[in-house]
């Protein structure tokens, strides 16, 4: 390490410790922000030190879970520089590279918009691109803008870098076309296709000619097996696929993982088709890093859940099930999974509108929430925009007598637990900052530990 980088790193680490001592949070991005200010090129130098290089994972939905799955597959044998807390902007990546001094491999979850910058500096040896959905347009601009950034990035990548792409997403799958060193993954089980295209599907029109695609199967939003009847643009051939998928309500899922190295049955302790996507992507990436089929199977079998994405927390004789919602496509999968598990009788939804949640809350109207509204007995709306959320539910068919508005999250949680019968489960759907606030509440009550203290 150069003397300059060493001094900068020292200063940045000291800032992180101060931040933790001051109790202002995990201090997860502060050192990176400082380093970024002192010397933007420092990230390049930090990444270049990693003996096995770095890999990056990006997507609108599932990047935190997918990255955590890869970490579990690689296991304790590889010392990782991994931004597990989800600090996925350039500053978070810098912090992570600073933090783990003797790391062998960088495992980086990266924000979609920040990805081109991170990839240019870190030069990952493999890059997993999962999906692109409309998400917080107030932050990212339009989907096409993010996709353009990715196209330029891929064009500038060296041919030695391996691209792992979800072929089921027309925009993403096309990035690897006509490029060597590309692994295409996806789902191959039309039994689990949606009967109708969801409202939140985005890439429904051919990316080449604009004609509507024919979908032989649409699994999650616009992810599926598509072909254009006008120009013939279609899903690329899958090299790694999930077949014979079994979904077991809110509990688990399993599938046949088919790869060039052979096939193996994989069991997940996570529910939902979206987690099958995450697992297949993680498997494809891990395989390019040399993981064996058995290591992949065992890692995915061990995998619990990524921070805040799917958590069961015990509270007396009741449980709290937390499922993060952040955009229509992701929330739709949460709704579908809840439906499959038997729709909850008591539901708490927390809608905040900070920058990390999206200041524009109109996305809640694009969620196909109606299946839950039909069967829920009590819906508690909370968060900064509780009233807006309440309106969404009432105009979506929820009887007004079933709706309770409680602006304060902690009181809303207590009310939800009060309405939950003994032995029952309270389902909580928070947006990102509401999820962080919820973590603080349950931690203060001694129900779970903060993420920066937990160890893998």
């Amino acid at each position: 390490m150069s003397a300059r980088l060493a001094v900068e790193s020292l200063a940045a680490r000291a800032a992180a410790r101060l931040s933790r001592l001051a109790g202002t949070g995990g201090g997860t991005t502060l050192p990176g922000k400082l380093l970024w200010k002192l010397d933007p090129g420092a990230i390049d130098a930090l990444a270049a030190r990693l003996p096995q290089g770095a890999v990056a994972v990006s997507a609108t939905n599932g990047k935190t879970t997918t990255t955590a799955m890869v970490a579990e597959i690689l296991g304790p044998g590889t010392k990782l520089a991994w931004n597990r807390s989800g600090a996925n902007l350039v500053s978070g990546v810098a912090s992570t590279l600073l933090d783990v001094r003797d790391a062998e491999l960088g495992l980086l979850e990266v924000d979609e918009a920040a990805l081109p910058e991170v990839a240019r500096r870190v030069r990952p040896r493999a890059l997993l691109l999962g999906n692109l959905f409309r998400d917080q347009l107030d932050r990212y601009g339009e989907l096409e803008h993010v996709a353009d950034g990715w196209r330029t990035m891929v064009a500038g990548m060296g041919s030695e870098a391996i691209l792992v792409v979800n072929g089921d997403d027309p925009q993403v799958g096309d990035l690897g076309r006509d490029r060597g060193s590309t692994v295409v993954y996806g789902l191959d089980d039309p039994r689990h296709a949606r009967a109708a295209m969801q409202h939140a599907a985005d890439s429904r029109y051919c990316i080449r000619c604009g004609h509507p695609y024919d979908f032989a199967a649409a699994y999650v939003g616009h992810l599926g097996d598509y072909s254009c009847p006008s120009c013939g643009h279609s899903r690329p051939e899958l090299r790694v696929a999930a077949r014979a998928i079994e979904l077991n309500g809110l509990e688990s899922a399993s599938f046949e993982l088919v790869t060039p190295a052979g096939s193996i049955r994989v069991a997940l302790r996570l529910p939902g088709l979206y987690n099958v996507y995450n697992a297949v992507g993680a498997a494809a990436l891990a395989q390019t890093l040399g993981a064996s089929l058995e290591e992949i199977r065992a890692g995915l079998d061990r995998f619990g859940a990524a921070f805040g994405r799917f958590e069961r927390i015990a509270s007396g004789d009741k449980t709290i099930l937390v499922l993060l919602i952040k955009n229509p496509a992701g929330a739709n999968e949460v709704v579908r999974t809840l439906e499959d598990g038997g729709a909850p009788q008591v539901l708490l939804i927390a809608l905040n509108d900070a920058i990390a949640d999206g200041k524009d809350v109109s996305w809640i109207w694009d969620i196909d929430l109606e299946p839950l509204l039909d069967s829920t007995e009590h819906l508690i709306a909370t968060g900064d925009r509780a009233a807006e959320l309440g309106l969404r539910c009432v105009y979506g068919g929820l009887p007004e007598s079933s709706l309770e508005l409680e602006d304060d999250l902690e009181r809303a949680l207590d009310r939800g637990l009060e309405l939950t019968p003994p032995g029952g489960e309270l389902v909580v759907l928070p947006t990102y900052t509401a999820m962080l606030a919820l973590q603080r509440i349950v931690t203060e009550r001694g129900l779970t530990r903060p993420y920066w203290e937990s160890k893998a």
Partner: protein, 250 residues
């Protein structure tokens, strides 16, 4: 009475909450004993100027807008005829832009317009994103506020003498400098306020329903029975507060 809505390009222009606006119109019509019938009018479909009491055009991402713009422009004469005959229009964001004379994008990505609203839109260099609050006076002496969210790179310039939908209290509006937002021609209104515009601004939903009922009956816009709107008022107030606190400005 039956209110016939023509929803233009619902499969292309649906970026945020356009179906929420339709859901609000439907519920508020039903609560007053009217029935809302929604017909999709999409790419290649004939638009019969007499077939709809209200036309709805939502917003789309650039790509989807470019796909439908020529088709929409070709429907221009039918839309102008419908409005001249007293049909109501709500056009939001991209739909609002394309009902003007056209959109001049960067690098030659121009789109033709319908020419209903007297304005032109030119792509700017900075996006105008944020909470926004307007003061409107659609009926003389009746001032109301509209709270919403805007996200657009296009700067829309109204012709001299054109009537905006409202004056900007907080936020950017049409171009970030004139203080004007949206446009009104008779019973047609267009606005950049996307997202769930009508849920938190029920007075505008009722104004549109009354205009549509007037077209359906051939009479004057009726007085609609008031609804309690407690939740709507709360949502409006939070949104208005956001606009005051963090509405966009250059």
């Amino acid at each position: 009475m039956k209110i016939r809505i023509g929803h233009l390009y619902p499969d292309y222009l649906n970026i945020y909450a356009d179906r929420g606006n339709i859901a609000v119109l439907a519920r508020r019509a039903r609560l007053r004993g009217h029935e809302l019938e929604v017909a999709a009018v999409s790419l290649g479909d004939e638009l019969d100027p007499a077939a709809h009491d209200l036309l709805y055009v939502g917003g789309g991402q650039d790509r989807e807008q470019a796909l439908i713009a020529p088709d929409l422009a070709a429907k221009g004469a039918a839309i102008e005829e419908a409005v001249a005959d007293g049909a109501a229009v709500l056009a939001v964001c991209g739909g609002y832009q394309l009902l003007g004379r056209g959109y001049r994008g960067l690098e030659g990505s121009d789109m033709p317009g319908v020419g209903l609203f007297p304005h032109e839109t030119v792509a700017g260099d900075r996006r105008m994103i944020g909470d926004v609050l307007l003061e409107c006076e659609l009926e003389p002496g009746s001032k109301r506020t509209l709270a919403g969210f805007e996200n657009h790179v296009g700067r829309t310039r109204l012709d001299p003498g054109a009537e905006p939908l409202g004056r900007v209290v907080a936020g950017f509006g049409n171009d970030g400098e004139s203080g004007a937002e949206g446009c009104r021609v008779g019973r047609a209104v267009g606005t950049y306020l996307h997202g769930p515009l009508l849920p938190r601004n029920p007075w505008l939903a009722d104004w549109l329903l009354a205009q549509a009922l007037a077209h359906a009956s051939g009479g004057d816009p009726p007085e609609l029975e008031p609804l309690d709107d407690v939740l709507e008022a709360r949502a409006h107030n939070v949104s208005a507060r956001r606009a005051h606190g963090r509405g966009g400005r250059f």
